[in-house]
């Protein structure tokens, strides 16, 4: 069985978790095994809404691990709950979405189980009855394929890469509730509060469209142009090159590249970004890349599917209007 940890935020399953569950379903079919979902809930919280959401990628069973000690997220507490579950259920593989939480938690679970971990995978295959994981290394300048010589095979799967299983919702999954024991004093660190960044609705790693700016923007105020362009799309975020971030024009959480975030949206629009190798590393797995730059020799044009050579201050507002028209049709 392939078990998938379902991360929730504000009572909803994270899209990355549903993608991981979808991929688990596909690989499990190939391996001739089933899938199960794992939910961790704190005292009094309900999981019914999330179970209903699992829909088309629905596993046969949803295991709900409950404890009052898990009301706040703690890597320690969650890792114990999941490792205890693995000890009993013995899945052959265990997947997490490679989100901030998944990347925090999965290594802790793997270490508790004494098994290896494949981080931030972008492709899975079945080879001789085991999983083969492919993941970008050197920020995407190389691809590493690996198998794990330990069971369960634990992996985190990069969000926005694996397609959602859009099949019809099958039979409602069986819900199995289990009380987890978290001894007093076991958890020595926990999340006390989540502070939402105002104006940011969606992270660059989760967006369907990323509009990024670089030195060519000339100053922080001109990021407004990119925000306006991004606002045309339903799930878009604003990104930036390292030089724009290092100049203090925008926060580093927007940085795309080797010392920033790696993104793979459907559409990546690079505006006034020359395309240094460390930036290309972070975005070249995007499905479609558009570049706007006044320098026809800029390296960004070598990876772009479409490019406009021109003054971004003239092009971007017009592009926004044209895209609005197309989207309105």
């Amino acid at each position: 069985m392939i078990a998938v940890f379902i991360e929730t935020r504000d009572g909803k399953a994270k899209k990355g978790s549903l993608e991981a569950l979808s991929e688990a379903k596909r690989r499990a079919a190939e391996l001739g095994v089933g899938t199960a979902a794992i939910l961790v809930v704190g005292g009094g919280a309900t999981s019914d809404g999330v179970v209903a959401e699992l829909g088309g990628c629905g596993p046969a069973r949803v295991h709900v691990l409950e404890s009052a000690g898990l009301a706040d997220y703690s890597a320690q507490g969650y890792a114990k709950a999941i490792a205890d579950f693995v000890g009993e259920a013995r899945p052959s593989a265990l997947f997490f979405a490679a989100t901030a939480l998944g990347k925090d938690l999965a290594p802790r679970v793997a270490a508790r189980l004494g098994v290896g971990l494949a981080s931030d995978c972008t492709r899975l295959a079945v080879r001789d009855g085991r999983l083969e994981f492919t993941r970008p290394v050197y920020a995407g300048k190389a691809l590493l394929s690996l198998t794990l010589a330990s069971t369960p095979q634990v992996a985190t799967l990069r969000p926005n890469v694996f397609p959602l299983e859009a099949g019809p919702a099958g039979a409602a999954p069986e819900v199995v509730r289990k009380a987890v024991e978290i001894p007093d004093g076991f958890v020595k660190g926990r999340v006390a509060e989540v502070l939402k960044e105002e104006s940011v609705e969606i992270d660059v790693t989760e967006a369907d469209v990323v509009v990024s700016g670089g030195r060519g923007l000339k100053g922080p105020e001109n990021f407004a142009l990119l925000r306006e362009l991004a606002a045309v799309f339903p799930r878009a975020a604003v990104g930036a090159s390292r030089s724009a971030v290092d100049s203090g024009w925008i926060g580093h959480q927007h940085q795309v590249g080797q010392t920033g975030k790696t993104v793979s949206p459907n559409l990546y629009v690079a505006v006034g970004i020359s395309g240094a190798i460390q930036h290309l590393a972070g975005m070249s797995s995007s499905k479609c890349i558009v570049a706007v730059n006044k320098d026809p020799e800029a390296p960004i044009f070598k990876v772009a599917d479409y490019g406009i050579v021109g003054d971004l201050f003239e092009v971007v507002p017009r592009l926004r209007e044209e895209l609005k028209k197309v989207l309105a049709e």
């Binding site: 703690s74 890597a75 320690q76 989100t99 901030a100 925090d104 999965a106 290594p107 793997a110 270490a111 290896g116 494949a118 981080s119 083969e132 290394v137 050197y138 920020a139 300048k141 190389a142 691809l143 394929s145 690996l146 198998t147 010589a149 020595k188 660190g189 926990r190 999340v191 006390a192 509060e193 989540v194 502070l195 960044e197 992270d203 926060g251 580093h252 959480q253 590249g257 080797q258 010392t259 459907n266 460390q278 070249s284 797995s285 479609c288 890349i289 026809p296 044009f301 070598k302 990876v303 772009a304 479409y306 490019g307 406009i308 050579v309 092009v315 017009r318 209007e321 044209e322 197309v326």
Partner: protein, 260 residues
């Protein structure tokens, strides 16, 4: 406060990566090696905490003799001591193996440490596994991808980046913290620091001294391939009147690329 920072020698981020296919490894000739950029934020944070609270900052690296210049750089920045945990094995991409080595070193040579600092990931392997794994192996709390850290007495508060916001993590010491860009601005080494670092001896700890069993060191990761990703084909470049190019691009994104 006693702090140990773990650093790794990696190719710098401007490196062009070439692959040696027979050995499934990266060609090291011609690469410029540096301390992993996130590790520098960790070293800087350790030095600031020491300046504020007293104590000692020690730096350690698991790796080959070639990691010495990286350790020396940390000494030049102001670390009190540097230790090389000598591991001759080629890159295994296996976080658990490294974490076991580090956890054992912390229990032994670095016993009594209040804070273990790491970069959020080593640039290159990009695993981001070791800090959490060390925390689990030692039963310590963790906060990863931290952009702000406050320590007071026996506890601390860390602010860490999550999608679209920041998580505030409260924890007791000892603890494991991994640094994200934005935590601070790493200092440059001073000439005085560089001269002093040259004179310092860097002790070498051998893996056998840590009492690890062969099975602890056997990688769980089996590399089956290492390749460069397929090159993207250069696409269609539009030039000329901004209004026309913008209109053509919007049409192409809709009709041809089908992303709009």
């Amino acid at each position: 406060m006693n702090i140990v920072v773990f650093v790794k020698r990696v190719p710098d981020t401007e490196s062009r990566i070439r692959i040696q296919h027979e050995t499934r490894s990266v060609v090291e000739d011609g690469l410029n090696f540096v301390a992993s950029p996130y590790d520098e934020f960790a070293v800087e944070e350790a030095l600031r905490l020491k300046e504020a609270n007293g104590g000692a900052v020690r730096v350690a690296s698991v790796g080959r003799e070639e990691a010495m210049p990286v350790l020396r750089k940390c000494l030049a920045m102001g670390a009190d001591e540097a230790v090389l945990i000598k591991d001759e094995a080629p890159e295994s991409y296996d976080g658990l193996r490294t974490a076991r080595i580090i956890a054992r070193a912390v229990e032994g040579r670095f016993a009594g440490t209040d804070l273990l600092l790491f970069g959020k990931q080593a640039v290159g392997t990009d695993n981001g596994q070791v800090p959490s794994m060390v925390a689990e192996l030692l039963g310590l709390p963790q906060a990863n991808v931290v952009t702000k850290l406050e320590i007071e007495g026996g506890s601390g508060t860390a602010y860490r980046e999550v999608e679209g916001g920041t998580e505030k993590v409260v924890f007791s010491l000892p603890a494991v913290i991994s640094a994200q860009k934005g935590l601070n601005e790493p200092r440059y080494e001073t000439l005085k620091g560089i001269m002093a670092a040259k004179k310092k001896e860097i002790p070498v700890v051998r893996l056998e001294e840590l009492g690890l069993k062969a099975e602890d060191l056997a990688p769980k990761v089996v590399v089956t391939g290492l390749d460069v990703p397929p090159q993207r084909q250069a696409g269609r470049i539009l030039q000329g009147d901004p209004a026309e190019t913008a209109r053509d691009l919007a049409a192409l994104l809709h009709a041809e690329a089908k992303v709009v």
